[in-house]
Structure formats: structure tokens, C-alpha cells
Symmetry: C2
Subunit: 122 residues, 2 copies
Amino acid sequence: MLLRHPHITEDCRAVSEILQRVGDKWTVLVVGKLGDGAMRFNELRAAVGGISQKMLTTTLRGLERDGFVTRKVFPTIPPRVDYELTELGHELLVPVGALGEWARKNTNRVREARAKFDSQQA
Amino acid sequence: MLLRHPHITEDCRAVSEILQRVGDKWTVLVVGKLGDGAMRFNELRAAVGGISQKMLTTTLRGLERDGFVTRKVFPTIPPRVDYELTELGHELLVPVGALGEWARKNTNRVREARAKFDSQQA
DNA sequence: CAGAATCCATGTAGATACTG
DNA sequence: CAGTATCTACATGGATTCTG
């Protein structure tokens, strides 16, 4: 590998895949909330805000399937289900957090570039 | 902010937004290729591989709009258009690269979790 | 409470054909 | 060469209804 950016160019597809995985509308929001500890379904729903029941279920199932989240069912009445980040889930938070930090710092630069571009399109 | 993961929980929406921005099918692939220097349209198309004309145009326009890429047109015949990463584009490569590194290291763990989950679903 | 199931609107991506 | 325009297929997301 005699490329200038081996950390980027080498197997770029793997990057693209996890970015698509965590790049949907709710995943990082849910993982972010779970970063502070286990939560119940509706507790999580309220914390995230604006997410439908169906999408929270879908998102959590996906995260569970990929090993980022554990699902613990308490067979009580009414039922109680706790969701918690796995070790893998916590580890994912590190690079995602770094990207998030970058995002917060550069939101304005993107916004400005966008405004400039849009005005030039006339 | 007295949260345990302020770098994650604080304005999680901004993270979600750029993740959706770069989390489409082609963006990181294109940015990754451009990481090594300027390229022409069809050169980039061949380098990425599998991308349609339309999607490359769409992806590049989006990147240009957000200030990640510059578009330089040479009014020759046949026409020539060079695309190149901006400073902002290069900076974006840093956190994205980190996430990519994480992705490559943990692809197997995700794959295993997935296989386990799927087998348990009967 | 925590979902499953269904239906529907929208967005995203690809194929194809045409052009300065 | 580097696009634009159009059409179509499929995936994503939301609203609603029902249930153990």
C-alpha cells in the first residue's frame, strides 16, 4: 500500500458500510441516550423524542442484531424491557463521538458553504 | 452539563445529521478517492467503481454544496472537470478515517453477533 | 408496557436516452 | 467528456390499529 492516505483508501467499503449502518435517522440518537446506562423502551422513546414506536423497535432490533445493545425482558405484568449498550456498543461511541465533535465544530462552516452555493445558483 | 458522556449526549442531533450526510451509499467512497488528489469525473467514476453517472453527479454536487469539494471546469473540447477536496474536506477525512479504522477492526465482531442473532431467531 | 401488523407517503438509487 | 432528463423500483419512515 503505497498510498498517501492508507487509513482512508484501504477498504473504503467497510467504512461506507458502518456509516450507512449508523447513518440512519435514529441509530446514533438511541445509542447516545443508552450511553448513560440501561433504559426501558418508553423511557428511551421519551428521551430520544420524536421517534415512533415502530422506528424505535426497528432501530433497537438492528442494534441488538449487530451486538451493540442487549435486550433484557422481565416477564412481569405489565412487561418491562431494558436495553443496554454492550462493550462493543460503548466502543462504537468513541469514534462516533469524535465525528460528533467534528460535526459540532464545523456546522457553521458547512452552513456558510451551503448558503454561498445556493445563492450562486440563482 | 453534568452528564457522563457530554461529548455524545450534547447536541446529538448534529451528529446524526452529518452521519446521515456522509452515510449515504457513495459519499465516503468518493471523498476517500479524492483524498489522494484532484480527479476528473470519469476518472473518479472508474476509481469508485459501480457508481452510476447520475449518482456520482448527485454526490459531487452535494459535496460541493457543503464545501467539501471544489469543482473546476476547463472550457475545452472535450470538456474537462476536476474535482478536489477543500481544506474542510480534508479535515472531515480525519474523524471519518477514525471511524473507518474502528469499522475495519470490528467487522468480525459485528458479523459474529449478527450470525448468532440470526440463528437464535429460528 | 412493549410490542406486532398493516398501510401509505416520501426519498433514494439505478437504468436508459439524449446533449453541448 | 461530462453531464441533464426521465422513468421506475425499492427502501425508509410515519400513522394507525390491535394485543399479550
